[in-house]
Symmetry: D2
Subunit: 342 residues, 4 copies
Amino acid sequence: MRVGVLTGGGDCPGLNAVIRGIVRKGVQEYGYTFTGFRDGWRGALEGHAVPLDIPAVRGILPRGGTILGSSRTNPLRAEHGVRRIKENLAKAEVDALVAIGGEDTLGVAATLSGEYGVPCVGVPKTIDNDLSATDYTFGFDTAVGIATEAIDRLHTTAESHMRVLVVEVMGRHAGWIALHSGLAGGANVILIPEQRFDVEQVCAWVESRFRATYAPIVVVAEGAMPKDGDVVLKDGSRDSFGHVRLSGVGEWLAKEIERRTGKEARTTVLGHVQRGGTPSAFDRWLATRFGLHAIDAVRDGDFGKMVALRGTKIVRVPIAEATARLKTVDPELYAEAGVFFG
Amino acid sequence: MRVGVLTGGGDCPGLNAVIRGIVRKGVQEYGYTFTGFRDGWRGALEGHAVPLDIPAVRGILPRGGTILGSSRTNPLRAEHGVRRIKENLAKAEVDALVAIGGEDTLGVAATLSGEYGVPCVGVPKTIDNDLSATDYTFGFDTAVGIATEAIDRLHTTAESHMRVLVVEVMGRHAGWIALHSGLAGGANVILIPEQRFDVEQVCAWVESRFRATYAPIVVVAEGAMPKDGDVVLKDGSRDSFGHVRLSGVGEWLAKEIERRTGKEARTTVLGHVQRGGTPSAFDRWLATRFGLHAIDAVRDGDFGKMVALRGTKIVRVPIAEATARLKTVDPELYAEAGVFFG
Amino acid sequence: MRVGVLTGGGDCPGLNAVIRGIVRKGVQEYGYTFTGFRDGWRGALEGHAVPLDIPAVRGILPRGGTILGSSRTNPLRAEHGVRRIKENLAKAEVDALVAIGGEDTLGVAATLSGEYGVPCVGVPKTIDNDLSATDYTFGFDTAVGIATEAIDRLHTTAESHMRVLVVEVMGRHAGWIALHSGLAGGANVILIPEQRFDVEQVCAWVESRFRATYAPIVVVAEGAMPKDGDVVLKDGSRDSFGHVRLSGVGEWLAKEIERRTGKEARTTVLGHVQRGGTPSAFDRWLATRFGLHAIDAVRDGDFGKMVALRGTKIVRVPIAEATARLKTVDPELYAEAGVFFG
Amino acid sequence: MRVGVLTGGGDCPGLNAVIRGIVRKGVQEYGYTFTGFRDGWRGALEGHAVPLDIPAVRGILPRGGTILGSSRTNPLRAEHGVRRIKENLAKAEVDALVAIGGEDTLGVAATLSGEYGVPCVGVPKTIDNDLSATDYTFGFDTAVGIATEAIDRLHTTAESHMRVLVVEVMGRHAGWIALHSGLAGGANVILIPEQRFDVEQVCAWVESRFRATYAPIVVVAEGAMPKDGDVVLKDGSRDSFGHVRLSGVGEWLAKEIERRTGKEARTTVLGHVQRGGTPSAFDRWLATRFGLHAIDAVRDGDFGKMVALRGTKIVRVPIAEATARLKTVDPELYAEAGVFFG
C-alpha cells in the first residue's frame, strides 16, 4: 500500500506533526510506503511527487510550516483536473490520499472521494478554528497563546499610560482567536466578525474602563465590522464615515476612538506572527493524534471521512459534514465574555 | 446573597482566574457579595475570612498561585470541624460556598453539602489532570507546556552528544503530564505510573534510538515504577536492587541506564517549576469559564455539584461522581504513543 | 537621610527593578528612608509623594511598568517650577533625589543639580538604547527579544508562502532595535532612521531573496524614511509619492513593495508589545545594578552624575555628557550587517 | 583561500550562528571557500571533512547545537596528532582554520598556531562565561534566561506554600549563571563555587526569609561546596557529614535544610535544559558578530588570536591570554548581590 500526503491552504503550526504521525505509524505498524505531493493539490495536479519516509519526518514535530509546501490551487477548476490527478496518482502508484487542509482542500477531497472514486481521508486544518464537526483544530491554540502573550505585555503600558491599546488579531469570518485571547488576556473589549460592533458602545466601554482603573485594551478580529458603517476597506477608497482606510480595522478603530473620546490610542497588528513558529504542546498533541488516526482510517478503508476531536477522543466524520458550514462563535458564548467588558 | 470562596490543595496555575470569574460575574450580574476564606478549609474552620470584591480580583488573571492561600487541612478530621465551619459561615453571613480544589477539597465539599446541609459548589483543580468527570482541569496545559519546552531544549544536546537525557515530570498516580509532554516533545520513551516499566525494555529502546539517529530522551513521571523492583525510595534505604535512592525515579533511572548500557545519562528534574508562573491561555480560558459557571450553579441553587469540561461545554456533575475514582491514562492511549518509542 | 525617587518618560521594562535595588540597598545598608514621587517630575512639582519602603518593593522585580507611575511633565517649563520642586522636597524632608528616565527626565535632573543646588543622581532609561555614555540601557534587551521572537515566527510563513513580510519595530531616531532584532532574527533587509532607504534597493533585495531561497523578511524601524520621499505621515495627507499614509512606515513600505514587485506583502506592527511585560534576565540584572550603584552615588554625595554600563562595570558619568547627543547606529556597524541583506 | 571550521567541547546555543557568520561573510565578501571538520579536533585528526557553503548555513541561526558536531578530542595527545592534522589540512587544501570552542579547544589552536605554524583563529565558547579576556561568551545569556524563567515560576509556589525551593544551575568552577539568574530571579540565597558556603548561614537566611514574607528560593551552582564539609559526591559513598549523596548539591542542600530547619524543601535540577534550544537574541547577535570578525582576522592573517567582546566592540586578543586563567566571580560583585539575601 502506498499513500499520498498533501497539505493545502494557509500556514498553520502543526502541519508537520500530522505528516510525521501519518508516516511513523503507517510505516512502522502497517508497512505502508508514502509519497508527498508538493504544494497541496497543485502537486497532485502537476505530478510533483517527493519521497516521504521516516528519515524525512525526523525533527519536524516542533517546526511550523509544512515540509510539503502549500498552495490554494483548486484542481476541480483546472482543465481535466480530476483526470490529471488520477493519472498522477496512478503514475506514482498511490492507492490512497490523505489531504490535510481547510474547507477548500477538504472540499476537493470530499468531491474526489465521493464523486470520482479517489480514496481520500481528510485532516482538518484551520488556524481560525472555524471548521464544524471538530472541537478544535490544531494551530488555533498556538495563535491564541501568541495573541494572549501580546495582550499580557500591553497591560503594563495600559497601567502606566493613558493610552487605549487596540490589538488586531486573526479571524476573517469567525472570532474564536479574538474571543479566546481576549478572555485569556483580560481584554476590556472584544470585537468579533459575528456581531457588528457599535463604535459608540466601544467608546463607552473605553471611558468606563478609564474611570474604573486604567487604560483599556481592545481586541478586535481582523474581520470585525462596525454596525452602522461599511466593511473595512484596505484600498484607499472612502468608507461611509468619510475615512480613508488604508490599513485594517485595528488602525481604523484606534483613530475612531481617538476622535470620539479624545484619548490617545495605539495599535498592535500581529499579522502572520500568529501563524508561525513552533506549535504549542496542545497543538502538537492534537496534530500528532490526527495523523495517527488518519492513517488508521486509510487502513480501515474509511474514505470520504476526516478525523475530528470530540472531547478527548479522535473520531471520524464525513468530510461534507465538517465543511458544510462555518463554525462561528455562539452568541451565548460571546455574551458570557461580556461580563468583562468595560 | 453572600458567597464564600476558598482554594485548597497544591498550587495550580489558574486558581486566581477562577476566583476572578466568580467575583466579576457574581457582583456585576447577580449583585452578590463575597468573602474569601484563607488557606482552604483551614480558613473556614478557623474563621479566617477576608473581603473579596472587584478591586481585590483586578490584575490576578495572569498570576499563578492563589490570592486566598491554600492548605491541605481536612476539616472533617478536626474536632467539631463541621460545627465550627457552620458557625464561621453563619458569623460571616455566608449563604453558599464555592470550594476550588482537588479530590480532597471537593470531597469535603460533597460531604458538607450532602450530609450537613452546607450549600457548596465545587470547582475541580488538579495539575495532574487525574480527576474524573472532566475532560481537562486547568493547570495541566500549563504544566505540559513547560515540560514540553524543556524537552525541546534537550533535543539540541541529544543531537550533538551521546548522552541519554532523562526528564522527570510530575504525576504521582497518573501519567497525563508525561504522556502529553512526551508526545508533544518527541520523547523516545515515556514512562507512566499506570504501567510498571521494564528497565531492560527501556535500555533496548535507548540503544535502538542510538542506532537509528542520535541520543534518546526519556520522559518519566515521578510516580512511575520499575516492573521487577520496589517502589522508588527517597529516604536513603536500599531498594530491592541494592541501590540507595536518595533522589527520585529520574535520577535512579539515569543511573540504571548508565550501568546497563554504558552510555552516559543526565537527568533534569523540573519539580515545582511545572506548577508555577502564569497560566497558559487555555488554562486561563478554562479557569475563567469554570468560575463563571460555578457562580451560575450557586445562583441556581444547584449544590453538591461541580463544574466540568465536556468538549467545549461547561457542564455540572455531582461532586461525588468526579472524586469517586482517579482518572488514569487509558492503556489504549498509552499504546497509541508507543509508535514513537525507541 | 531621606531620598526621593521618581520615574519619568515612556514605559520601559526594568524600572521597577531599579526602584527595588535603590530601596533595598538604601534601607538595609545605609539606613536611609525613601519617598516616591508619583508620575515623574509631575509628582515632585505637585507634591504628590508616596511612602517607599521594603514591603512596597516586594515582588516588583519581574513586573514591567513602574509602581511610581510616569509622565512627560517638564517642571522647568512650569511656572515657578524649580521653586515648587524645592518646596515640595523640603516639605517631604527629602535630602536627595534619584531620577530614573530618558534624555528629558535626566536633563531636568542635570539642570536642577547643576544650576539650582538640588542634589540629584540619574539612572538612564530608554528602550531605544539611544543614550550616549552607556553601553546599554535596560528595556532594550527585552524589546529586542520580543521583536526577534516575532521575526522567528515569521520565517515559518516566509518559507511556505510567497509573501514579503514587513515588521515595523520601535526606534524613532535610532535603529538599535531594528538592527539587533533584524540581525538576531535573520532578516533580509534592515532599515534604520540613521540612513534614508532607497525603495528600489529594498525591492532589489526582496527579489534577489526570492530567487535565492524563499520569501524575505524586512525589518523597518518606525522612524526609517525613504531616500527620495517625504517623512512618513500618519494624518491622512498625501506624501510626495501621492500616497495617503494613514499608517506607519511598515504598512507604507509593504504597499510600495507590492506595487513595485508584484509580490504580496504583509505587515506586522508590534507597537507597545515591545515595551511591556516582564523584563529579560539581562535587563533585570542591569536595572538592579543601576539601582544599587545609584544609591551608592547618593551616599558618596556624587550629584549631577548618572550611572552607566561600560563593559561589565557600572560607572558614573556627568548627566550632561550622556544627554548631550543621541547615540545613533554607527554606519560601520550597519554596514557589517549588510552581508545578510538580500 | 579555503578555510576550515570546527566546533569543540560542550553544547552551547550560538555555535551555528558563528558558523553562519563566518561562511556568509567569507563567501560573499572575500570569495573564500569553506570546509567543515566534524566533531571538533577529532574531524581534523581523522580527516573527516564536509563541504560548508551558503546553502549549508541557511536556517541555522536560531538553532541550538552545532551542524558540525562536537567532541572533546585533544589531538595533541593523539599519536602523531599534529602531523596528522597538518596532513589532513593539506589534503583538504585548507589554508587556515577557525576553531570555535572553550579553554581546551582554543588551547589546541594556540599551540598549533604558535608552535607548529598552523594558521588558526579562535572563537571563544563557554556557556559558563568563565573565559577571561571577553566580557561575555554566547550561550551564557540563554542559560541565564532559562534559569531565571524557572526561578520566576517557583516564586508562585513559594508564595502559596511553606516550602523552601532549591534550584541547581550550571557552573562547575564559576558561579556566573547562579549569580546572574539568582539576581534576575530575585532569589533569596545564591551559592557559587568561588566561595564555600556555610549551611548554617543558609539556614539562617531561609528562616529570616520565612519570617519576613514567604518561602525562600535558593539558587545553587552545581559546583558550589559547603564550607565545613567535603566536596559533594555523586557516587554513593558517604561524605564527612555521614550522608550518602547520590545526587548533586541541590538535592543534598534541600535535605540539609529540611533536617536543620524542619521546613519542607524541594529541588529543581535544570541540567542540560540550560544549554539547549534556540539562543537568545543577545547570544545570536554576539555569536554572529564573533563569526564576522573571526573571518576578518583570517583575512588579516592575524593568527593565534581569538575574537572577544569588550563593551560593545569586538576585539582580537592572543588566545593564550584568554585561556591562561578562569574568569571567576569577583568577590565584590558577589558581595553586591548579598543585599538581597535572606
